[in-house]
């Protein structure tokens, strides 16, 4: 009966935005020590660093890099969303418009970047 007593309907945009922000933050926090460890090899062990950098050519690592960029983007926009929501006493339509404008500009900038690369 515990399941029936718990809340099952967290499936609404605000809660999903919250959990996405939390999980992306945790994942990034786990990634950072690894990131610094590899970067530190530039000083301590350049050959090993080169080995690591060659790994970035493989598909799996490319996919992981995509994941990393996704986490960063999600976490950044999650944070901006939260600050706007809590610190700017806007009305709901204003917030929707601001979010749409941000999403649209992000999309255009992303398309431009993809074209440039």
């Amino acid at each position: 009966m515990r399941a029936a007593r718990g809340i099952t309907s967290r499936a609404h945009p605000l809660w999903l935005a919250y959990i996405l922000h939390r999980l992306s933050g945790l994942a990034l926090a786990l990634f950072l020590p690894l990131h610094f460890w590899v970067l530190a090899m530039a000083v301590s062990n350049p050959d090993r660093l080169d080995g690591f950098l060659q790994m970035t050519e493989t598909g799996t690592v490319k996919l992981a890099e995509f994941g990393l960029v996704f986490l960063l983007a999600v976490h950044m926009f999650g944070g901006l969303r939260l600050m706007a929501m809590e610190w700017l006493p806007w009305s709901a339509p204003q917030k929707t418009l601001a979010a749409s404008a941000t999403a649209l500009s992000f999309l255009i900038a992303g398309l431009f970047l993809v074209k440039a690369v």
Binding site: M1, A4, S9, R10, Y18, L82, E86, P89
Partner: protein, 243 residues
């Protein structure tokens, strides 16, 4: 819709006190027009008179009949059964985040204690000999205050809140929304006391803006934005060096 063609509903109700909870299944005849409260009442009147539950007004004004329906906190008198049926089945349990007394009845004391804990009481400065304060209905603060005054204390937001579930001291959405309403009320003189009460360890800054309060409020109120208002006001007050 679907229930029109059903003869019977399979209704699972959480029975017992908080320490010994067990599901009990009842067959309830389906009617064309039936609320969740009607279903619970049918069980109590026809199947098991020992079933405990609460209701009073049946029209969504008194705030006493809230329960968890399929894991979602709802006012049961204003929730049509067709809206919540999964096939022919529905599960009904006592409100989350409050101690269960028996079956579907929870102890509302913590909820109301926090209402007072957030200074959700009138702080008057005038006497009966003073003229009634004039209120500008169009003023920004009055609009903010008006947004929250239709709260019926049903505790749906309190049951929906994961922050309440994780922190027993957290004042919760309803109490904090009341504090925000009073803070914006020109007739209330408790500004310092309210800001003090809502900036403590169980106060507004615990809120993670998960938004379940606003999503599930049966009266379409917005406690999350009210709490955001308190966050802004307590922060402004802090940076002005008042606390």
């Amino acid at each position: 819709m679907a229930q029109m063609t059903l003869d019977n509903l399979k209704v699972t109700i959480a029975r017992g006190d908080g320490s010994d909870v067990r599901p009990q299944v009842f067959d309830v005849p389906a009617y064309a027009n039936q609320t969740v409260l009607d279903v619970v009442s049918w069980v109590q009147q026809n199947a098991d008179p020992t079933l405990s539950y609460r209701f009073a007004c049946r029209v969504g004004m008194c705030g006493s009949c809230a329960m968890m329906v399929n894991g979602v906190p709802r006012w049961t008198c204003r929730t049509h059964i067709s809206k919540v049926l999964e096939g022919d089945a529905v599960t009904i349990a006592p409100l989350r985040n409050l101690p269960v007394i028996k079956d579907l009845v929870v102890d509302m004391d913590p909820f109301f204690d926090k209402w007072v804990g957030a200074e959700g009481v009138h702080h008057g400065a005038l006497t009966r000999d003073d003229p009634i304060a004039e209120i500008d209905e169009a003023s920004e603060t009055r609009v903010e205050a008006n947004a929250g005054i239709e709260c019926i204390n049903c505790s749906v937001c309190y049951a929906a809140c994961d922050t309440v579930a994780g922190n027993a001291d957290y004042l919760g959405p309803a109490a904090l929304q009341r504090a925000w309403t009073l803070l914006n009320d020109a007739k209330d003189e408790g500004r310092a006391a309210i800001l003090d009460a809502v900036s403590g360890s169980g106060g507004c800054h615990n809120c993670h803006s998960m938004g379940s309060c606003t999503t599930y409020c049966p009266n379409d109120l917005d406690p999350m934005s009210a709490i955001a208002g308190l966050k802004r006001e307590t922060a402004k007050s802090f940076f002005r060096g008042r606390r």
